[in-house]
């Protein structure tokens, strides 16, 4: 605060105000130079911070390409397609989870919303063969459950973790009731399975779908007033209220959008797997949380974000895929997944503290 005298009052602010750091002292020339070289270095550090996970992803991929255990199986076109396509469903669900998480709300029901949507879609489409009706059904299921979650959290003021844990449990019950615990015999129309397994220019359609959904989510969050308000609520709910944001409405919107994306995730699952099993929903929840949390370790360090989530999904996928191909015992995957999650979130926390203090 030693340069208070130089830049006094609203009109008297000099041009340097936008350049110098808050601690700059009167020897402006020298300091400016120092500041510039500092920003050069800072930019590199910022880049590394932002893309560390992506770099790590590339390094792991290169490793599996040359490691003797996996060099014949990992870097094949078929494996790459499986890798990209198999994670699309988790990716969409992770994006759904990301939205309430931005408002500091946990949605534990994401997996079972997708699971229920998958079961219902599989049953409906097997019976009627009407794909459009199946799409509408998946989206409706997501919207309705997301809406109920939103009402419980914002109107009944139940903690989001508890509300969605309860909802998830109920959904699990519905799934069990509808299926009797057995995968329903399914007769999925080809048009739907073609979508799930098809390629465009050699790239799985379902992966492209994920990228499109991610792009839409990204633009809504980063370039619209709505997205900005969601970030503001997540940053400081009390302050958001006092600048006139409809905090309850925004939180509700994220739950509804999460439900919608999870419904879509269920539909994509049916299209890719050609059916649905009653247990599938539960297996989505934890990986989705891992990816969403890890997103704070990349692209926008310290903030949950869309592209960070996508990178995290594929970071974990490459890791698991490579390990599976190398033939290690399955428990190794658990060690690696758990360790990666903890290390990633710890990294994000450190980055966040560095940036804000």
């Amino acid at each position: 605060m030693s340069n208070i005298q130089e830049t006094s009052g609203p009109g008297g602010a000099s041009e340097t105000t936008t350049v110098v750091s808050p601690t700059a002292s009167p020897e402006t020339e020298q300091k400016l130079k120092a500041a510039k070289s500092r920003t050069g270095k800072a930019r590199l550090i910022n880049f590394l911070e932002a893309y560390a996970l992506l770099v790590l992803l590339a390094l792991i991929a290169v490793f599996f390409c040359f490691w003797s255990e996996t060099s014949s199986t990992f870097p094949t076109l078929a494996n790459m397609r499986i890798l990209l396509a198999s994670q699309a469903v988790i990716g969409v669900i992770s994006l759904g989870l990301l939205l309430p998480l931005l408002c500091q709300e946990f949605d534990l029901s994401v997996g079972n919303i997708a699971g229920l949507a998958a079961i219902m879609v599989a049953a409906s489409v097997s019976e009627s063969g009407n794909v459009l009706a199946a799409v509408a059904l998946a989206l409706t299921i997501g919207l309705v459950i997301g809406g109920v979650n939103a009402l419980i959290v914002t109107r009944l003021h139940v903690n989001g973790v508890i509300a969605t844990l309860g909802m998830s449990t109920i959904l699990g019950g519905i799934i069990l009731q509808r299926t009797g615990g057995l995968a329903p015999a399914s007769n999925i129309p080809q048009s739907l399975t073609n979508f799930g397994t098809g390629l465009v220019a050699g790239v799985p359609v379902i992966f492209i779908t994920l990228l499109v959904i991610a792009a839409i989510t990204y633009f809504v969050l980063s370039h619209t007033s709505l997205g900005r308000q969601i970030y503001a609520v997540g940053s400081n709910m009390e302050a958001a209220k006092l600048v006139g944001l409809r905090t309850d409405g925004l939180r509700a919107a994220t739950f509804v959008a999460a439900g919608l994306l999870c419904g879509l995730g269920g539909l994509l699952y049916v299209s890719r797997a050609g059916g649905a099993s009653p247990n599938v929903g539960a297996t989505f929840t934890l990986p989705a949380f891992a990816a969403a949390f890890l997103s704070a370790a990349s692209v926008r360090p310290g903030r949950f974000n869309v592209w960070g989530t996508i990178i995290a999904v594929y970071f974990l996928a490459v890791l698991n895929n490579g390990l599976n191909l190398s033939g290690v015992d399955p428990y190794v995957n658990d060690y690696v997944n758990g360790g990666a999650l903890i290390a990633g979130v710890a990294l994000a926390t450190v980055l966040y503290r560095r940036r804000t203090t």
Partner: protein, 534 residues
């Protein structure tokens, strides 16, 4: 017990009747002399009032006693032994029998009274180290009986009245005292700040009883009425110095006000410059100064005694809201803004009435609000400076819901320059800035909307002196541009230098108004006069 006369400075061995003495305590923070050779003596078994306005040094003195603040020089006598005040520590304060009870509720509302009492000292345990609840309850019962607190030991704290909660906190601090013969000193820091009137009496009665039993009490308060009611002796601090020492009958409302405000002659309450007589001439003056257009009117129809128009704010004027802690100043601002229920308050702008409990409507009508607690109520810490600025104007920066990044960035850069924010860049997170610069960002966030009415709650709290002056300039500039400003500050010096006139609050009501020119002394006089007339 209050017949002792004492010399101006306690340099000799402290007498046996002195429970605590301090000599020549000084403490400097940067350029501010918070304590300037403060000496005082607290008689054993007396209730010693420690008074002073904001910034008088009483908080620093209490923190020094607690060993939290290390003074630059001075000596302390605790239990009859002089020590260098610099070597005083929290552990030493505890060992020498100083017990502190602060205004903030230091008890745990969800635990029982017995648990709260035990948390201060450890639970009674059985030989197996599990908690012996029976013994615990019996002990709690004894403590409650001794302090004459009429509650059951297994009542949850939250169900107690505020006064009873404070008494439990006091009992917790003092519960071990009778086991040693040494009587310690109980230091109460604004114990009544959050108590309603009738509860205050309950607490004061209890304190008198404890003192009669020989308990020495230092009673820190800004409430004249309470101090005159219970103190045996009083030390008044002003600007870090001892302004007066009063004993027994010398303690009166007028002598305390004289000490706190430094007025040469103690004013009779009746001759204190109350607003009513001066209003007319000042209203006339206001017209001359150009404050003609009414910006905001507050009405409280249920108030029948005075005319129901409680506050009128005109475009371009800065009105201060003066009052003591807990007088409802901050709440008034939030009521106007619609962030808390209005009760029967009616808010009207020149553009029409402002509906209650609707922040968005208030904003649309042209009200802006900079809250007191920046971190909790204003800052969006993870968001960039540009994002923090644009959050009140998102629709201006976007078309059909899409934000135009260049427009947002340019607006941020313009505001950063205009408001003299020292920032590395508009995209840096808000937390990269110093407190003063953060506050300028919050101010800019609202002033860019060109509000009709700007509500400021403690606008320069925790801000360094340079930024403080800059913020004052920014507020003056906004007023000059036609914004009506209502500013709350505990710092009467700030109000005096910033505001054209002031209103005084007490007990959640506007009770008086002072028409300029304001000085710190006038504000002190009127505010403390209100305390007496309550």
């Amino acid at each position: 017990m209050n017949e002792h006369m004492r010399s101006e400075s306690a340099s000799a061995e402290p007498g046996s009747r002195v429970a605590l003495a301090a000599e020549d305590i000084s403490k400097t923070y940067g350029a501010t002399r918070a304590l300037d050779e403060v000496s005082l003596e607290v008689s054993s078994g007396a209730i010693h009032g420690l008074m002073g306005g904001n910034g008088s040094g009483k908080s620093t003195f209490i923190k020094m006693l607690a060993g939290v603040v290390t003074p630059d020089q001075g000596r302390l006598a605790l239990q009859g032994e002089w020590i260098e005040a610099r070597s005083h520590t929290p552990a030493r304060a505890k060992a020498s029998g100083l017990h502190f009870v602060h205004q903030q509720n230091s008890t745990f509302p969800d635990l029982t009274v017995a648990e709260n009492l035990a948390l201060g000292r450890g639970f009674e345990s059985t030989t197996l180290k599990s908690i012996d609840w029976k013994a615990q309850k019996a002990r709690s019962r004894r403590v409650l009986d001794r302090f004459e607190i009429d509650v059951a030991a297994d009542t949850h704290m939250v169900r107690l009245s505020p006064a009873a909660q404070m008494m439990v906190a006091i009992a917790r601090a003092l519960q071990d005292q009778d086991e040693t013969d040494e009587r310690g000193v109980l230091v109460l820091d604004e114990p009544t700040a959050s108590l309603p009137k009738h509860e205050v009496d309950v607490l004061l009665t209890a304190l008198r009883r404890y003192a009669a039993d020989g308990q020495t009490i230092i009673y820190v308060s800004h409430r004249l009425e309470e101090v005159t009611a219970i103190a045996d002796e009083v030390t008044v601090l002003r600007n870090g110095r001892v302004a007066s020492r009063l004993v027994g009958a010398e303690i009166s409302h007028d002598s305390l006000v004289a000490g706190i405000t430094g007025s040469v002659a103690a004013k009779q309450a009746g001759t204190v410059p109350r607003g009513s007589g001066v209003v007319d001439s000042r209203v006339h003056l206001s017209h001359v100064a150009g404050f003609r257009e009414t910006a905001l009117t507050l009405r409280r129809p249920s108030l029948t005694e005075v005319d129901d128009e409680t506050l009128l704010l005109r475009a371009g004027e800065i009105v201060g809201v003066a009052g003591l802690l807990g007088s409802g100043r901050s709440r008034l601002l939030k009521q106007i803004f619609g962030a808390v229920p209005r009760d029967d308050l009616e808010v009207t702008l020149n553009s029409g009435p402002v509906p209650p409990s609707d922040v968005r409507a208030a904003m649309k009508k042209g009200i802006a609000f900079v809250p007191e607690n920046r971190l909790r109520e204003a800052a969006l810490p993870e968001l960039s400076i540009a994002e923090n600025l644009s959050v009140t104007c998102l629709s201006d920066h976007s078309r059909a819901g899409w934000i135009k990044p260049s427009r947002e960035r340019k607006a941020a850069q313009r505001l950063i320059k205009e408001f003299g924010v020292r920032a590395p860049s508009a995209s840096a997170p808000l937390t990269a800035l110093s407190g003063g610069n953060q506050q300028k960002v919050i101010l800019a966030r609202w002033l860019q909307r060109r509000p009709t009415v700007l509500l400021l709650d403690e606008p320069t709290q925790g801000v360094d002196i340079g930024a403080r002056n800059e913020i004052h300039e920014l507020v003056r500039a906004a007023a000059a541009a036609g914004t009506a400003v209502l500013v709350v500050s505990s710092d009467f010096g700030e109000l005096a230098s910033l505001a054209h006139r002031a209103v005084v609050m007490s007990g959640s009501e506007i009770v008086d108004s002072i028409d300029g020119p304001l000085t710190e002394d006038i504000l002190n006089d009127v505010v403390y006069a209100q305390e007496k007339s309550l």
